[in-house]
């Protein structure tokens, strides 16, 4: 067996171990490489930045634990920017696990401590509503007819933030972060097509290409492209967190992937040349 034949079929255990190392090593010794901000995240940032104080944002926590490592940091950065700008945030969840992601995110934001925000006045979480697009249409249609309690069962009547929010006409921006294609498309259908609202969306990087056409046509004003978008937002908002830490890990692990691709191609090419002719 020639060296090329060996290289064209490395055992999976070796590949897996190298991948594991490429994640652990940079996690232990971060490099702190500079970042370049992508246009899609810049637009997300600018859209929120352009909102006047006290504008109302409807924020959908549309992911669960499967998406948390990738989307949680971006969600935290997005909240930092919104609280920093004194926006009123109405939070909901179209994902089953959204109500369990909410405390994890809020632990990272700490709106009371960092921004003096008051629950019920500056932000509120109305919890999980089943039905995905039906839930979106319900909240945008007549919020008070649908929702009576917040996620812990406290009545929402008497919460100042919701006094002036009855539906789509009172909401200035819809922002969502999700792992689901149905949710990513659903907000474009229900908020943009139905009410011509401004919408920004965050998704896993693997979904970005599929929702990119909405961004090109202005149906989405910005996209947070997975962990990269999250790192961009952390950088733009000046709140470095888990996503920026991850970019060093990405450097190592993706370089390893590139090496694998090179080895795979060269060895394949060499063995084919030797074998077939």
């Amino acid at each position: 067996m020639s060296i090329w034949e060996k290289l064209t079929s490395l055992p999976r255990e070796i590949v897996m171990t190298l991948v594991m190392l490429s994640i652990i090593v940079p996690a232990l010794n971060p490099l702190g490489l500079p970042l370049m901000t992508g246009q899609m995240s810049q637009d997300w940032y600018d859209t929120i930045d352009a909102l006047p104080a006290d504008s109302v944002v409807l924020f959908d926590v549309g992911y669960g634990s499967g998406g948390y490592p990738s989307l949680g940091p971006g969600n935290i950065a997005a909240f930092h920017q919104m609280f920093d700008k004194d926006l009123k945030i109405v939070i909901m969840a179209t994902s089953l696990e959204g109500t369990l992601m909410y405390p994890l995110v809020m632990a990272g934001v700490n709106p009371e401590g960092n921004y003096g925000a008051v629950y019920g006045e500056d932000y509120v979480f109305i919890g999980y509503i089943a039905g995905t697009q039906t839930a979106m249409a319900g909240v945008l249609g007549d919020l008070h007819d649908l929702v009576t309690n917040d996620y812990q069962g406290n009545p929402i009547s008497g919460m100042p933030i919701l006094d002036n929010v009855g539906g789509a006409d009172d909401i200035d921006l819809v922002a969502y972060v999700t792992t689901s294609g149905d949710i990513a498309e659903g907000w474009v259908y229900q908020a943009y097509s139905q009410y011509n609202m401004a919408v920004v969306g965050g998704t896993l990087s693997m979904m970005t290409t599929s929702i990119k056409p909405y961004y090109d046509s202005g149906q989405l004003l910005g996209i947070m492209d997975g962990i990269k978008g999250a790192a961009d937002l952390e950088f733009l908002t000046g709140h470095p967190g888990d996503a920026i830490v991850s970019s060093d890990i990405l450097t190592f692990s993706q370089t390893l992937v590139l090496i694998f691709i090179a080895v795979g191609n060269i060895s394949w090419f060499m063995t084919r040349k030797g074998g077939s002719s």
Partner: protein
Amino acid sequence: MDYKRDIPLAITFLVGVIAIGDYYTGIQAVTDTFNIIKNWGIVLQGFALGLGAVNLFRVHGKRISARKEGTDWIFSVVLLVMLAVHVVIGLITGQYEQGETYNWLYNSIYLPISSTMYSSLAFYMAYGAYKVLRARNFDAALLFITAVLVIIGNTPMFPAIYPGFFHMREWIFGPIVSGAYRGVRIGIGIGAVVLGIKTLIGMETGYLGRR
């Protein structure tokens, strides 16, 4: 007339047409009716969430009582026990998923498995990139070019050395992705609409199940 099929088909048609009417017309009565439909739909979706669990009980209950296929039935026991424990803890407190014990269990069991299960595909991605991404024919070569350029642009080290790598990545996400995916999106969109119309007019009845 077969009321077991025709009435449901009529319900689908009626509800769908009201939803469409709400969007396109300014008639108040339609909008009010649709508001009720929406609110009903949300409650019904809540009921539908239990269907999966009932199915699991049936499938795994059978497997446990048959006890074939080696030791696999033990895992079915694990599944049903975990299911039952979580449901009881979630419902008994009256605080649902906000209950302290439920939260504790969720964060120590479900969250780590779920977030690792899908992300551990990273190993497959690496192995796949090594075995898969080979310029073996023209189609694969096209994929290969953009995939490698995007990975390079996504790896912070390379743009740090030469910013052009990042601009290349951004450019690929510009015209290349925008153009082709716009075509794909238009195709998917019209496909979904045609299927939807066929469902509303009763030509697509798969959701009704067996005859």
